[in-house]
Symmetry: C2
DNA sequence: GGTTGATGTAAGAGTCTCTCACATGAGCTG
DNA sequence: CAGCTCATGTGAGAGACTCTTACATCAACC
């Protein structure tokens, strides 16, 4: 997809680009995917967009602001993906919960640039207000799902939903960081990250009295 | 502690530094701790060591090689810390296993510069041979501990020790990355990362038939 | 005492960030 | 339609960093 006004190649005829902001965000995604968050530079993004190195500063105060915008959009897509996977607990809560975990890893795999901007760029979240909220929305999906899952448990054995969500988030994030995002040359696993996470979640749920049996 | 030959301040009288390599590694730790892996520069490290910007290149081929050396030493300290915490399963395997988890988080908290170099610098591990081995030694502690923990279980219900170690490593790493290493302004937790991890590990062990009861 | 090799410096080419003054032209206003 | 205005782009440049090359220093060894 192209973001230039001409809709064609990257040759621009008019003085003004017409859609530079989007073109820069697109370029950032490419560069981050290729080289990690540190591999992205304003200068290179400007080059990809076909403008001078100073032009991006009309749209972003500095490189961090551009990365933060990528991260923000990433969190929104991430939250959407998690919501689709959870699908309001259908076909049944346990299955939907597993789909949620797979969606987490899938996002890390399919959208490495967003994932890197969100979790590996070390952005000061408080400096970019929307970021925190977008992250909270994504986490909220997991929290609501946890709440729903344990809803059927008797009060005495019911764990705090927040704690449960934090456990699942942490394990998903750990697996994604260590085994999905790591270089391919990295330590070989005896199973796919997806299977590893599914087994971990099932064991965790078992200890709560949910998902008692092994998967059919 | 000072790494100059004079053992005193950072004023050097002789032409040669005497211990530049160590001084640079020390400077890198300071800079990474202060500004993250991206905040470290060869030029600034040279300045801290009191040498010209070109001098570091006598000891490290480039900035990545210096970071990799920091990461390597970090993994060694990390493995040592984990081994001390496990303490060969004393006083009993379950308690020692919990101590292992606390040691993981403690390392992330107490040694942020090493942790950042190890896990946040995106080093190409295959380019620095010792790195992979050092990381494997640290993981090996967790793996051996898992093996020992499940050793008492009947064969039929015994999970693969490797999988178990990967689950614990992932949850520990996830909690460390998300809640120990995150900026202090970050989302407030209902409990400390240490308690969160301990609860998660206990639940996990419960589902395996270990650590059946809640902690006294 | 002289030589040599490891370790330092000075200088510089190339790149990046970010700023400032100036150029362009799309859209509004009369 | 003429003219104005302002968002958006350019050119030039200061300051910082990376890494290289040629040269300087000096500790250790013959």
């Amino acid at each position: 997809m192209s973001w230039t006004r001409q809709g064609g190649g990257h040759e621009r005829r008019s003085y003004h680009h017409g859609n530079l902001r989007e073109a820069l965000l697109e370029a950032a995604l490419q560069l981050i995917a290729a080289n990690g968050p540190a591999g992205f530079t304003i200068a290179e993004a400007a080059r990809l967009a076909g403008v001078s190195p100073a032009a991006p500063y009309r749209h972003f105060s500095d490189a961090g602001a551009l990365i933060a915008e990528v991260a923000l959009r990433g969190f929104e897509r991430f939250a959407d993906a998690l919501e689709r996977a959870w699908n309001d607990g259908r076909p049944d809560p346990v299955r939907a919960f597993e789909a949620l975990g797979r969606a987490y890893l899938s996002f890390a795999r399919q959208e490495p640039a967003y994932y890197a901007a969100m979790f590996e760029a070390r952005i000061a979240a408080e400096a970019y207000p929307g970021l925190q909220a977008a992250g909270d929305r994504a986490f909220g999906v997991l929290r609501d799902a946890s709440e729903r899952l344990i809803g059927d448990l008797p009060r005495e054995t019911r764990p705090p939903a927040l704690m449960m969500a934090l456990h699942i988030w942490s394990m998903s994030h750990g697996i994604a960081s260590l085994f999905v995002r790591a270089d391919p040359s990295r330590r070989k696993l005896p199973m796919s990250p997806e299977d590893l996470l599914e087994a971990g979640v099932l064991l965790y749920l078992q200890s709560l009295g949910l998902a008692g049996a092994k998967k059919p």
